[in-house]
Symmetry: C2
Subunit: 395 residues, 2 copies
């Protein structure tokens, strides 16, 4: 199960919520275990999951055209469908379990639109005057207006941030997926660096990187791969720039594995690096090492931030400045906590965080170490198979 159910119940209670309604792709998947394709690929298509606290019940609200996905994924809970979609059935065939489930789902009532189905679910499960936490970033303004109008006695509380707070502490299934996503990306970096040759373009290296991710059953996501001075662009996108001796190569990359994200950074130098590259990179690496050393439940996130930044400053980049040195990661690339000076969060067991020390200097290079770290009962565990030391390529 992806959902941290006990944490959800606790946070709903603290906020006096009778129901939670997920509307963004990430929260629909997290709360209901339901991956509703159309909302992942476009803005506009509506799919919701409603969770009622008193009944501890889930209801998926989805377009009829996606019922095959519900049947195939079989996430459990109630389903309410809306809009027309035609699927035929061969009456002479023996149907698979998935197809039998789909036929059963089609036999349920068809609501006119998503709000009709959501209103019915809320009315039946928590009543029309409930206090409802709604993820405000996935529902269209038109649907939100209609919902308020249809349930005039209900109180709606914007809850995207509460969903993030619930997601911050990972379940075992989530941790397993994050481990694999991390491993796929590490291996994709290794393969891309193994393929490095003088004259290879950033685009060609990105192709090796993404193809490796695909071959390992990861789903490619946008990433940064930059050579030489281009590595200093914080969001560098692969171009036709060719690899030359003396370049650094910066990877700030990830993938999705069963919908869960990785986000890691590694630097390689082509040939003997300059003293500045070596020294600066070492300072950044020591900053992340400091996080590995001190991270544990109870540590204030603001303290972690200060320790990492101070370590980098003391070890070679005295002017080092960052707004954050990392973030949680899960179904979204940026879960809480945001590792920043003004954070009031505290590390907790089963958080998974990316700790990163990027340094961008135009005219010089971009250098960066980013590791994924699991907070354990009494400390932390690196999810990385290889450490983040500067790699030197002899090509």
């Amino acid at each position: 199960m992806l959902l941290n159910a006990s944490r959800a119940a606790e946070i709903m209670q603290d906020n006096g919520l009778d129901a939670l309604v997920a509307t963004t792709p990430e929260n629909v998947l997290y709360l209901g275990g339901y991956w509703a394709m159309s909302q992942w690929v476009r803005r506009g298509p509506q799919a919701y999951v409603m969770y009622s606290r008193t009944k501890a019940e889930l209801c998926i609200i989805t377009s009829t055209s996606l019922l095959d996905l519900v049947a195939d994924q079989n996430p459990g809970g109630q389903v309410r469908r809306f809009s027309y979609f035609r699927t035929d059935v061969d009456p002479s065939a023996t149907l698979s379990a998935e197809d039998q489930r789909q036929v059963a789902l089609f036999s349920d009532r068809e609501y006119k639109g998503p709000v009709d189905a959501l209103v019915a679910a809320l009315t039946d499960d928590v009543g029309g005057s409930a206090r409802i936490g709604i993820d405000e970033l996935g529902i269209t303004p038109q649907c939100m207006e209609e919902l308020i109008q249809r349930l005039p006695q209900a109180t709606f509380v914007r809850s995207f941030k509460l969903f993030e707070k619930i997601r911050a502490i990972k379940t075992p299934e989530e941790i397993a997926r994050l481990r694999m996503a991390c491993s796929i990306t590490e291996r994709s970096i290794d393969r891309a660096l193994d393929a490095a040759t003088e004259g290879m373009t950033e685009l060609e290296m990105a192709r090796v990187f993404h193809s490796t991710t695909t071959s390992l059953d990861g789903v490619p996501v946008t990433g940064c791969i930059g050579f030489g001075d281009r590595s200093a662009m914080s969001n560098v996108q692969p171009s036709s720039r060719q690899l030359r001796r003396g370049d650094v190569i910066r990877f700030d990359v990830g993938c999705r594995y069963r919908h869960y994200r990785s986000d890691i950074s590694r630097i390689a130098a082509v040939g003997e690096p300059t003293a500045k590259v070596r020294d600066y990179h070492n300072a950044l690496w020591l900053g992340v090492q400091r996080a590995h050393d001190i991270a544990k439940p109870g540590l204030r996130v603001a303290t972690l931030f200060n320790e990492v930044v101070e370590t980098v400053r003391r070890n070679g980049i005295p002017h080092y400045e960052r707004s954050h040195v990392g973030h949680g990661i899960g179904i979204d690339g940026y879960d809480p906590p945001n590792i920043a000076a003004d954070s009031s969060d505290v590390l907790e067991e089963n958080m998974v965080v990316c700790v990163e020390t990027p340094y961008y200097e135009l005219g010089f290079a971009g250098l960066q170490v980013e590791d994924m770290i699991l907070i354990t009962r009494d400390g932390s565990e690196s999810l990385m198979a290889r450490d983040g030391r500067l790699r030197i390529l002899a090509i």
Copy 2:
């Protein structure tokens, strides 16, 4: 240029709009030529493009942390940035043109948040009491409330649909990208089918498909690849189901090429197909052929829908029913027109449409033909290199 500027001006005039504001990733890219990474990978991060009709001027509103992308992509127009981000500069280095542009962008005023920057752009370019068309699906409810509060004299008109209407007629650059996206996906299907062997899983075939797309500089997107009875699931996601003699293979797949989408469907049979597969597929193929034959500027979309459905019915599937038989395609997988019975649209030169005749029968199979078609001055042009006839694999 991606933007159809004359059409935008005309539609703004018809709707009495002084300004248009793009807020979703697709519309920000379309209107401003600016690909703002963070809004593509998550919900929440804000980036806007404002276009003023009277001044015919564009203004990009973006986080400071994305200025390197503005500098690298160099889309033109004004830029207003918000929030703090640190980038260093090597004072001894000779900067590249991209880095010089980034330094110049950093020297501009830093607004506190996205709404501060947008309010400044609107106030300066169209005045505080203008009529403003705003793409309502990318701006957060919080930012939208703040915007209304900050510009109490302005009138805001929800304009996501107007953006879609502008995008319906493609510019030459858009058509070139769509051609390439289509070609990459066709070649990826060919390679995946060439690799077919008995016992291969859907996931393994998907890996060949997506790796080919990556190797051709396409970006993989979620697609449907299903074998045998699984092909009847309308959104079938690749599983560990193995390929067997007698199966059909259904592809409903695409990619992105320079952000533009493809969406095509092809069916293969493993070994000699049954008469039902052959006959039904032929009817579906003739339906799409009918679209190729009659599509031209001036044809009512509702007529196109009826002709396609009737052709399928007359040629072998008398009970064929669909809510639509295709859609426009561009930067989004579903641009107007929606090819449906109730459409009031008319085909116009430089529309690019996907015409599709899917048929899903649980216990039998899913069969589907989907071609990409460009509407030309006096007819249409297929973007497909190979036609959609049933392919028979002798493996």
